[in-house]
């Protein structure tokens, strides 16, 4: 990233959350926050939403319909065979396969969706703004253009709880 940026670095969750709250009060927001573990105040406060569970629901819906359809096609239309006097469309038996196979499909597709949306994939080069953000530092990234006045305000708030690194 060749843009000019600066970071606010905090050494514990409480200071990060406190500074984040004060920034929000002033109508300011960091462009991104890097934390060693998920901090719910930040996840909520950053205003992003994830629809991954909605996606998973639809994956499940379509795979259920698809699987039931497939088993019906195989057992009734394509090559009907009698198994122990059961009807060709032995629906209760299909449920068992359907549940487990649906779960498998949901998992694979949701993982794929996660990988695409969060841009997490094998061999990706990480954009690291602070090398300790995955270890013990909580890092706010400011990379947008701020007016001088706003930038001073950010620096002041961050310095109350942590440190500024440019």
């Amino acid at each position: 990233m060749n843009k000019k940026y600066f970071t606010g670095v905090f050494s514990d969750e409480d200071s990060l959350v406190a500074a984040f709250g004060k920034l929000k009060e002033k109508g300011l927001k960091p462009d991104e926050v890097y934390t060693p573990y998920p901090v719910h105040e930040i996840l909520d406060g950053m205003g992003n939403k994830t629809r991954i569970s909605h996606a998973a629901f639809f994956f499940g819906l379509f795979s259920t319909i698809g699987l039931i359809g497939f088993m019906y096609y195989v057992s009734v239309i394509d090559w009907p065979l009698h198994f122990g006097g059961k009807p060709f469309n032995a629906f209760p038996s299909f449920i068992v396969v359907n549940i487990v196979a649906t779960i498998l499909v949901i998992t694979i597709l949701t993982l794929f969706t996660f990988s695409v949306r969060a841009k997490i994939f094998p061999g990706k080069e990480p954009e690291i703004f602070h090398p300790q953000a995955t270890d013990d530092k909580f890092v706010m990234l400011f990379s947008s253009e701020f007016s001088k006045e706003k930038e001073d305000m950010i620096v002041q708030i961050v310095k109350e709880h942590g440190a500024i690194e440019k």
């Binding site: 514990d12 969750e13 409480d14 959350v17 406190a18 991104e32 926050v33 890097y34 934390t35 060693p36 573990y37 998920p38 901090v39 719910h40 105040e41 996840l43 992003n48 939403k49 994830t50 991954i52 569970s53 998973a56 497939f70 195989v74 057992s75 394509d78 090559w79 065979l81 198994f83 122990g84 059961k86 032995a90 299909f94 068992v96 396969v97 487990v100 196979a101 779960i103 498998l104 949901i106 998992t107 694979i108 949701t110 993982l111 996660f114 969060a118 841009k119 997490i120 994939f121 094998p122 061999g123 990706k124 990480p126 954009e127 690291i128 300790q132 953000a133 995955t134 270890d135 013990d136």
Partner: protein, 462 residues
């Protein structure tokens, strides 16, 4: 939540900083490989090698080399299959159910439990494959358009359900485990000094940086996978039980089987988790993370599950009498309880329903070596349970003319030893190369019950 702070006390001992948590858990990966590790690896690879030789014999000469006969068509292979898959259930059950119940103490143990799951399911999957007799034709079980008719699979068959269930289970538990490790691999990447280590763990870290966007979706993913894997855990072992319960063999054809199997699986898995974490804690001095109170909690869970196991055994005995079916009665009373298989039955009963009751005593729970021994006893007891189910019912069915006895050939024993070797070597590799405790999850609970720097900030975080 209420439980995590006020009642349980600190989840990590020693008032550790976040950086120290990373260092402590990564330490075994950076350290020189200890001598005992090589010794244990050599032994387990030897066991695995012997197992591979027995598998070679099975492939070359067929399952005629096993001790099976016309009456007893399922021998040690299926006993071991059910045993391993049961152990394999704990990892996911552990993570998922404790996640749903918001038990924060799971964080120190879930990684090891999930690792155990993946290896155990690999061991389990081997047995049905070999039992096919012609394993090179295993792909016949995939329902795909083929040139054999097209001859599709039988969707009514529990054996097909089993195939789907195990395939799904291994893929899902492995991906659940792996995605849990991604943030920790990033931590290793960012803290490692060696370039090679940085590159290797960096590759597996998938470019993770810990940004809020990543965490948000990551939490969404855990929520989805956790929710559906809970269903999976219950359904997979229910399906394994239908391999038996859908038949008409006395002692198998009972409605209690699905819950009985699921509980049994979680029981044996928790016992194996206990075996594993006591070993891990001792060898790698993880006492601050896997604290006495963690061990204590698992022991308490085991008391409860053991009571359910005892109830299930008593229910089987009661129903054998109460149903009025002479075949059921004969299997349970004349074969299992007071017959040729009495040793296996009572070994099962005592090891699973009686011995774990010792965990009621605090004196037992706090002596780790006793806990370790009891966990091994439960593992053996659960093996006997599967032996009872598989062998007894087959050996004494409706026609006395068909009755037969069974003892395993050395090839069957060898394959079992081979899977034990596979399991141990897999676990050793896990200890050596993967952070054995979920670093990011432990960090998220590290702050509980610690004297806070800013006492004014009293807000509780999820």
């Amino acid at each position: 939540m209420i439980y995590k702070t006020e009642i349980r006390g600190p989840l990590i001992n020693g008032d550790k900083s976040l950086a120290q948590i990373s260092r402590d858990i990564i330490a075994p990966i950076d350290a020189k490989t200890p001598v005992w590790w090589f010794a244990a690896m050599a032994v387990s690879l030897g066991m695995l090698g012997f197992g591979l030789y027995c598998i070679y014999l099975t492939l070359a000469y067929g399952i005629g080399g096993w001790g099976l006969n016309n009456t007893i068509g399922w021998g040690w292979a299926i006993v071991n299959f059910v045993w391993w898959i049961g152990i394999g259930h704990a990892g996911t059950a552990f993570s998922i159910f404790l996640l749903i119940l918001r038990q924060q103490w799971r964080t120190a143990i879930n990684r090891a439990a999930e690792a155990m799951t993946v290896v155990a399911v690999m061991c389990a999957g081997l047995f049905p494959l070999l039992h096919m007799g012609r394993p090179w034709l295993f792909f016949y079980i995939f329902p795909y358009p083929n040139t054999r008719g097209p001859l599709w699979v039988n969707f009514n068959s529990p054996l097909f359900w089993d195939f789907v269930a195990i395939t799904a289970y291994i893929l899902i538990s492995a991906s659940f485990w792996y995605f849990g490790m991604v943030p920790d691999f990033a931590t290793i990447r960012d803290t490692a000094k060696s370039k090679i280590k940085k590159a290797i763990y960096g590759f597996f870290a998938f470019g993770w940086t810990g940004s809020s966007k990543e965490w948000l979706r990551y939490e969404g993913l855990s929520f989805v996978l956790g929710g559906i894997a809970a269903v999976l855990v219950v359904s997979v072992h229910s399906i394994v039980s239908t391999d038996f319960a859908v038949s008409v063999i006395p002692g198998w054809h009972t409605t209690i089987f699905p819950p009985y199997f699921v509980i049994g699986a979680i029981f044996s898995g928790f016992a194996m988790v206990l075996t594993l974490v006591t070993v891990m804690r001792g060898l790698y001095r993880m006492h601050d993370y896997v604290t006495d109170s963690h061990i204590d909690a698992v022991c308490r869970v085991l008391i409860f599950i053991s009571l359910i196991m005892g109830t299930a055994y008593m229910t089987e005995i009661f129903m054998a009498w109460y149903s009025g079916s002479i075949y059921e009665f004969s299997i349970i009373f004349n074969s299992r309880m007071f017959g040729d298989f009495a040793f296996q039955f009572w070994a099962m009963f005592i090891a699973n329903a009686v011995v774990p009751q010792l965990f009621w005593f605090k004196a037992v729970r706090k002596r780790i070596w006793i806990v370790f021994i009891i966990s091994i006893i439960i593992n053996i007891g659960m093996w006997f349970e599967r032996f009872n189910i598989v062998i007894t019912s087959l050996s004494r069915d409706y026609l006395p003319a068909n009755w037969a006895d069974y003892s395993p050939s050395w090839i069957e024993v060898g394959i079992f030893i081979g899977t034990l070797g596979l399991f141990i070597s897999g676990v050793l590799l896990f200890f050596r190369f993967i952070p054995m405790i979920a670093i990011s999850e432990v960090k998220s609970v590290a702050k509980f019950n610690k004297p806070r720097v800013s006492a004014s900030n009293s807000s509780h975080h999820e």
